[in-house]
Amino acid sequence: MSSVFVQPSAPYRPPSRWQAFRRVLKEHWQDYLFISPFFILFAVFFAYPIFWALQLSFQKWDGVTDPTWVGLDNYRFVLRDPITRQMFYNTFRFLILIVPLGIMLPLVLGVLLNLSFLRFRGIFRTLIFIPTVSSLVGIGIVWKLLFGAANGWLNAVLSHVGLGPYKWLKDAHLAQVPIVTLALWGSIGFTTLIVLGGLQAIDEDIYDAAKIDGASPFSQFWQITLPLLRPIVVFLLITTTIMVMTLFSQPYIVTEGGPSNQPLTPLLHIYRIGVGSTGAARIGDASALTFILSIVMITVVVMQFLITRRRESD
């Protein structure tokens, strides 16, 4: 009987994380060098301001004197502030008005612009995309002229059929109209383009098969187009919701947040108190409000995402 004596070797020690990191860095340093500008820019212009804003949300700071730590006082104040409630209520109202239209209109326009027998499709597609490349500020000024009470073009047209004049920019309820239409007008080009992309990705064979089975155009849309566009619709739902919750230019240019704060949106209010355009700068309050808005936005978007995903799995 022979036996083999095996010399016990030193136990294998995996390299530490630091060693592994150094090895990877040594092997791929050129790759990291090439992607480093993004991380540097991200750190300087995104990560740092976010963490600084978070810090400021717990401080009282006017931008001039040294900041003082106030704990949760800024959060307490802005949550109690009636203007905060008002702006979230306004946002909810805008969501109800803009999101359904912001999904339905591009769907309708996308389907129309995808019709194979439509002449001058290229021209129409170009025209519908013009708002996306137009200056919202310039268009906002045009909107103001369009909806002006005394000399507004819309009132001038309506007066020919015996209507008006309406105080589009002064009436608390009517003032929603120019802002909603401007928001929809500004986003319609991009959203229609997304829908068109989705429609063109649907295999024509499916429609051909449906036609052979005798499906009507409506039935084809309902049974084929819409289900296959579901990811696009979810995308539009989420992006339109974010767009509405971050409305700024539209109410700022058209009504400056009036009348009676009815179209005041969160970002406009944050801007006002943060920059101090309606008083001294309250940077701490503005920062706290920013994080509250972020939490609300993330919650809404995650809920939308979960609901739509659950429906898909059902």
Binding site: G63, V64, A150, G279
Partner: protein
């Protein structure tokens, strides 16, 4: 913590510095030497450049050549920039801060409390006898017992009216009358000519509150007390002012437009405005550009003091009016002070500013023929400035514009219409607004 502060200041400093450098560079390329008859520069004098934040087309542009001729070693770098956000960013960074700027009074009060503004007590006190006391009081910081800015333009308020419209309605403005008598005259004018006598925007912006603030100011009330620690606009004087404003609103003699926007200007041009209570600067802003023909009232416009709001009422009010300020960052405080004094406390400077259209605080100028003889086509041969000189004599020293001032006006403007139209009880509504502003005011203490 300290490192964080240093790095963020550096970051802001870089941004503000870059912005300022770009603007200076831009201006340097555009600026043309314009000062006539410059004195030769002394070899021993230090070359100095003062950065000046101004509005576009500002009276400072007219004062610049006079100043540079008087102080040949100093160049004023006019940066057409007076944006509050940029100024605040520069102050936060401590870099790119202008040597001279033109802040509104509530900003003077806000920054003056922090001690960041240049103390100009010496030059204000040295010129106190020749400056409007009301305007001078606005630059005083109670908590530091110092003047943090030099008095700028005085924004007295009066009536602009069209003589032809009043004649057509058979209305004469008496030397002394009340707002209730004004109301009756307004009805008479509307009936005879269809023209309005007030402008009250229902949009819920701060301008919706202007009429109320005029009345409150006339009655000796204010938005806050002198040091801004208390909100006072909802006291008895506030209620009295709001009741008068409501009577005027309900008389339906007003136009519902923003007074500083195109739609109202169009109403002026169309002859739909017979009277409008506005500040002195509204002549160049809203009247003259729109009174270009008979329909717009060319040659027919006049000015008058406000009607009385009650016993002991002032006949004018306060609507705006800035000051000249500098900061402790300036490296040339003496040159800055020389500019302030020249611009607003000498006949030469006041005349230059007056020609541009502001009402300087220099009393000898306001009482001079140079001021009262100014004419404007919209007003024919009428000496509108004589009325503003009378208004200056009554310009209040108790209309305090503390840091909460603008937010208070925004709050009042947002909620004022239900009080004016009678759908909300005035006392209750005003108290609710006052409480809301009190909450906000805690942020400024």
């Amino acid at each position: 913590m300290k490192n964080t502060r240093v790095s963020r200041r550096r970051m802001l400093a870089s941004s503000a510095g870059l912005g300022a450098a770009a603007m200076i560079g831009g201006r340097g390329a555009l600026a043309a030497p314009s000062s006539p008859a410059r004195r030769p520069r002394s070899e021993f004098q230090e070359e100095i450049t003062l950065d000046v934040f101004v509005h576009a087309n500002h009276p400072f542009d007219m004062i610049k050549p006079i100043y540079e001729a008087m102080y040949p070693n100093v160049t004023l770098n006019m940066m057409e920039q007076n944006d509050v956000a940029i100024l605040r960013a520069a102050l936060a960074a401590g870099e790119g801060v202008p040597d001279i700027f033109w802040p509104e009074i509530e900003m003077v009060q806000e920054l003056g409390k922090t001690g960041i503004l240049l103390d100009v007590t010496d030059i204000v006190e040295a010129n106190a006898d020749v400056l409007s006391p009301g305007k001078t009081a606005e630059c005083f910081i109670p908590s530091t017992d110092k003047y943090a800015a030099f008095p700028g333009d005085i924004a007295t308020v009066g009536l602009y009216y069209r003589q032809d419209k009043l004649d057509e309605a058979g209305v004469t403005i008496p030397d002394s009358w009340t707002w209730d008598e004004f109301l009756e005259a307004g009805k008479q004018i509307k009936e005879a000519t269809g023209a309005a006598s007030l402008v009250i925007p229902s949009g819920g912006t701060s301008t919706s509150a202007h009429l109320f603030t005029f009345l409150l100011c006339q009655l000796g009330g204010a938005i806050t007390n002198a040091d801004g620690t208390e909100i006072t606009f909802d006291n008895d004087l506030g209620i009295q002012a709001m009741e008068q404003a409501a009577r005027l609103y309900q008389a339906d003699i007003h136009i519902d437009e923003e007074p500083f926007e195109e739609n109202y200007f169009a109403e002026i041009a169309a002859g739909n405005v017979a009277i409008t209570p506005q500040a002195v600067w509204y002549r160049g802003f809203g009247i003259a550009p729109n009174a270009i023909d008979e329909q717009g009232g060319l040659g027919q416009w006049r000015t008058a003091l406000l009607p009385s709001a009650g016993e002991g009422s002032l006949r004018t009010a306060n609507l705006g009016g800035a000051a000249i300020a500098s900061t402790t960052y300036t490296e040339h405080p003496e040159e800055v002070k020389n500019f302030m004094t020249l611009a607003m406390a000498t006949m030469e400077g006041a005349e230059a500013g007056g020609q541009w259209g502001i009402q300087p605080p220099y009393l000898p100028y306001l009482e001079s023929d140079t001021w009262t003889s100014v004419r404007d086509e919209a007003f024919g041969e009428f000496s509108f400035n004589s009325v503003w000189t009378q208004a200056v004599a009554e310009y209040p020293a108790t209309w305090y514009k503390q840091p909460v001032y603008l937010e208070a006006l925004t709050t009042i403007g947002a909620g004022i219409i239900p009080l004016l139209d009678g759908s909300t009880d005035i006392t209750e509504g005003l108290t609710a607004m006052g409480d809301q502003v009190r909450e906000i005011n805690t942020r400024y203490q």
